[in-house]
Symmetry: C2
Subunit: 616 residues, 2 copies
């Protein structure tokens, strides 16, 4: 958080603020020029991704807010930025609050705000590439109710006033070899073709980069942290694909790899591809939660018969092939060794003082880079000590950077992108000086409750058909029993050298109808956060597979294989709180970590690992 | 099961079968007379209730099948009865399989069967009073796909050929006094009026008898086991109600009680009431999962603006008032004492031999009747010993009636209707001769696992907003761990001197978005069933309320208060399988059962109770 802003309360117009005021002024002039009364500026790009290219950082350019989710609405005489609970502090530090109201989206829906602020007959513009049909419908209803109108605008208004906007990314695509993917693109396309046929559909439009990269077995580098090739595609019931992608990204190797069934088109010609579907009277599947409104409108105009259903690649992609499963195991072993090198260093250095959050995350990055296989981190490392650990999506900056101190709890959530798999691990460790300064009894109680939840999920056996929402309470029970809880999901899907967050499965309180199936990878990450004091999270990735049938068992059961390998800090465990089974699980897990990693680490790390993986 | 049918395989046309063949023939003649090619005969009545009046037993009259759910389709040259998994055996024993195919609905959807069997241009009739819009839509789509048509038929075809069909029930309604209801009808109607207003609706049509009885604070006796007044009602945004109910049911006392805001109409004039709504261009809420198709069609024809949403009474009804909560406690104490008298008798008599399932359920009924307060059972008692206990919805008949034998497990699921509350309890007991013949180790293992699930749910603490589907796995975990499960829900809502099965909350694997709220009553009834050997179920009713905040707890939590009072059979518990908390729960529960009931039972029962509630 920017200290000067926090201190003064009233803000002086800084250089950056003056810049942004000018930008806002130019945007409002553009509003007038186009006969609009307002414009919606989401953080999302055309693909609704978590990481976006520089040119899509319109929200940050306009408002200064750099969070990974949010939205601004600019009217002629007022403007607001809407963010979720993670960003309520950050938004006030980054945004000029004289220009923008900063509102929590949980209680202030932007469509309601617009409806309340717009005048009768008002026209609110939006970029139909950036809102999904599901989102646009909400704004449309609200504008209508307020006696106004929601208007799709050709050409984004921010782009019109952003002189030095970066060009679209053009990173070369790469073939994702079969030894990692485990299935050819042709085979995947056949599966999707069968699904479309049985649903009575002729084609599906894909806008999710992970779906397209999975389907074509390609990877790219268009956005940070995630090896995406930004593009659009239409997959037909024949198995053929029309791929609208910048030709600069397509190397000769990729062209050979994709074969004749995948026809290349310039990105600007997606409309023509859609028009042909419409003119042929085709039934076309779109995912109303992911596709741009622009695509749906174009299809409708062209006369297509629209089928609203889930992106057909999401479920098959979530069920990892044998090769992907093996790759995930290798990637986690490699990544686990790197994390252990980091943790051993931390255990030696942090108690002496002088290690900051940023220094720690730099060191962790260096340990991963030293594997020689790291392609990128899988997300920005969360490196939070003491009170910063209680901020669930904390990102350390020079302004917030804390030095780790004995008595602190330090939470580090990080992951790597490797060709054979994507990792995501959180460890929470006590910074201790032996016999002098250690964690409090309360910290141990909370950590042990989180651990009991983690173990309950790791050990769970459940029948086929069970959804993640049905398993969620197992991870929370030990906290609920003490009148505690955490305000985030327990598990998200993870891609295979793709996005660290993927669906359709998840483990959370929200009702889900997607069953956990063999080969799916999810995180197991219960936590506990005490605002202003400390945060705890224990996260391993786990993979769904057949569980051993116990003697006398009558039904096939599924269970989780833990992929992540790194010790869980014994100093934070209140051992008597664990029952026999929980203790046996932890000891067996630690024995496995030792067995799988001790020969993969240096002598100093090995010595630390020996002690860190001792039985309780 | 009818032994002769089971033995012979081919059936002789019995007297009943010959009767039914004549009925089927008359129905087919009626089909021809009306220019139809088929007719749908559901078990449901106009109110989609579980118990129906005699005149609505069309399915049983036509086919012989007496289960509580099912449906027949009669075409000119073939016919079928569709039932769920509970009734696959029963249907073949009761129905003349030369006339009707007997099909499991899980794999044979009746609409698909119709589509496959009907010829192009075919017309399938249905009674629009007996299908909901949601159901009719499925048949309509299937008929259309097969090139035919679904046709609503005025006047049920079965009624046309059923000479001695009973008349509609006309049991007098009774005032449900405020001391039991805890809220006046006027107060409830105000709440519904506010809900309609805030949803922008003018009125809601009610067809669920429990909604109408709750709203008007009346009870009746039109169907077995449930004190319903069968009727329809329209509740307006003013709080006024149009009640279409047989005048014979309305005593002077009820007329005085309901007051002027409730206008009485003859049942046959519902159409006029709906027409007035339509002519006034009113926005009218209907619940598409419960209302008859007839009502929706009439409203549409009259020009009403239809809003599809849940019956507005269901959620408020589920949250019991303080008076209803107190009533539930009293009813459960009274009912628990009766059950204890029965269990004490059973423990003394059954090991001697000669007690049959029917004798046992008769005795249980007598114990409840001896309270002097029993209005009716709340459902047909399930009294199953040995292999019969494994049939989840078993109903003992002279043909299936088994004598309880030492070494058996006996399962009895029963409940009572009292003015102050409705009960539902299942106990599973071992028929033992001390030191000689007792339950097997496997039975004890399974019983203890079911008990652990029951206790986990009884002890659960959970945050506001938690749904029943999120709690369901707590009740199954101990079975899942052993590769076991049960194929029914864990908990259903229970009315207050109303239906023993009510929504909208439930505890089950099916995804639910309805949160458990204080005052809701649900059953806690995990089980285990070994086909052909034995069945286990442990069921108490529990009520949602605030849970005590533990020391250091940060959030308000909810929990369950167990209402049901009767010992859980210690002979079936493998004590070492229980952990300290589980054991403490059971001992505390038994101590409470003793404390609350010992002065309410006779000396013989008291002696038994003393021993049955000893600490483990």
């Amino acid at each position: 958080m920017n200290a000067s802003i926090a201190k003064t309360g009233t803000k002086t117009v800084s250089g950056a603020d003056a810049d942004r005021r000018a930008r806002l002024k130019r945007l409002r002039a553009e509003l007038t020029a186009r006969g609009l009364d307002g414009f919606i500026v989401p953080r999302a790009d055309e693909h609704q991704g978590e990481y976006v290219a520089g040119r899509s950082e319109r929200l940050a350019w306009l408002t200064g807010f750099t969070g990974s989710a949010g939205l601004a609405v600019v009217l002629k005489n007022k403007a607001a930025v809407f963010v979720d609970g993670r960003y309520t502090l950050q938004v006030r530090a980054q945004v000029d609050t004289a220009q923008f109201d900063c509102l929590p989206i949980a209680t202030h829906m932007p469509w309601d705000w617009i409806a309340g602020a717009m005048s009768k007959g008002g026209r609110i513009g939006y970029d139909p590439w950036l809102l999904t049909p599901a989102q646009a419908a909400r704004y449309e209803a609200a504008c209508k109710k307020a006696g106004g109108k929601l208007v799709p605008v050709p050409g984004n208004l921010v782009d019109a006033v952003w002189a030095d906007q970066p060009p679209p990314p053009r990173a070369p695509a790469q073939v994702h070899p079969n030894k990692y993917a485990g299935r050819t693109s042709a085979d995947k396309r056949r599966e999707i073709a069968v699904a479309l046929k049985s649903a009575g559909e002729d084609a599906a439009v894909l806008s999710a980069p992970d779906s397209i990269c999975w389907l074509l077995n390609v990877r790219g580098a268009d956005v940070p942290r995630t090896p995406f090739v930004l593009s659009f595609a239409v997959v037909h019931r024949t198995g053929a694909v029309d791929w609208c992608v910048d030709a600069d990204k397509i190397t000769a190797a990729v062209r050979r790899h994709i074969g004749k069934e995948v026809r290349l088109h310039a990105p600007g010609t997606l409309g023509d591809v859609l028009d042909r579907l419409g003119q042929g009277g085709k039934r076309v599947r779109i995912d109303p939660a992911g596709i741009p409104m622009w695509v749906m409108a174009r299809l409708k105009r062209a006369g297509a018969d629209i089928s609203r259903a889930a992106d057909p690649c999401q479920l098959p992609k979530a069920k990892k092939t044998r090769a992907e499963q093996a790759g995930m195991r290798s990637a986690h072993k490699r990544d686990g060794a790197a994390v252990c090198r980091f943790l051993a260093w931390l255990a030696a250095e942090a108690p002496q003082g002088g290690i900051t959050e940023l220094a720690a995350s730099d060191r962790l990055l260096a340990c991963r880079e030293a594997t020689g296989k790291l392609r990128d981190l899988s997300f920005d490392t969360i490196s939070g000590s003491g009170p910063n650990g209680a901020i669930v999506h904390y990102k350390s900056t020079p302004e917030t950077n804390r030095t780790l101190k004995p008595g602190d709890i330090y939470l580090v959530d990080s992951g790597g992108q490797y060709l054979d798999g994507t990792t995501d691990i959180t460890r929470t460790v006590a910074i201790t000086i032996k016999g002098k300064k250690g964690p409090t009894r309360e910290m141990q109680d909370r950590f042990t409750r989180v651990l009991k939840g983690h173990i309950a999920l790791a050990m769970a056996k459940f029948p086929p058909g069970t959804t993640g929402s049905a398993l969620d309470p197992l991870a929370r029970k030990s906290l609920w029993d003490a009148g505690l809880d955490y305000d985030h999901g327990t598990g998200h899907g993870v891609g295979s050298y793709l996005s660290v967050h993927e669906g359709p499965q998840r483990i959370s309180k929200a009702a889900s109808t997607v069953a956990l199936e063999p080969g799916m990878v999810v995180s197991n990450e219960p936590g506990y956060y005490k605002t202003g004091e400390y945060g705890i999270r224990i996260e391993n990735l786990v993979m769904v597979g057949a569980a051993e049938t116990p003697r006398g068992g009558e039904r096939d059961m599924l269970g989780f294989e833990t992929l992540t390998l790194a010790p869980i800090d014994r100093a934070l465990i209140d051992t008597p709180m664990l029952d026999t089974d929980e203790r046996a699980w932890l000891d067996a897990y630690h024995a496995r970590v030792w067995r799988e990693l001790n020969r993969a680490v240096d002598a100093r790390t090995r010595a630390w690992l020996k002690s860190a993986t001792k039985p309780l």
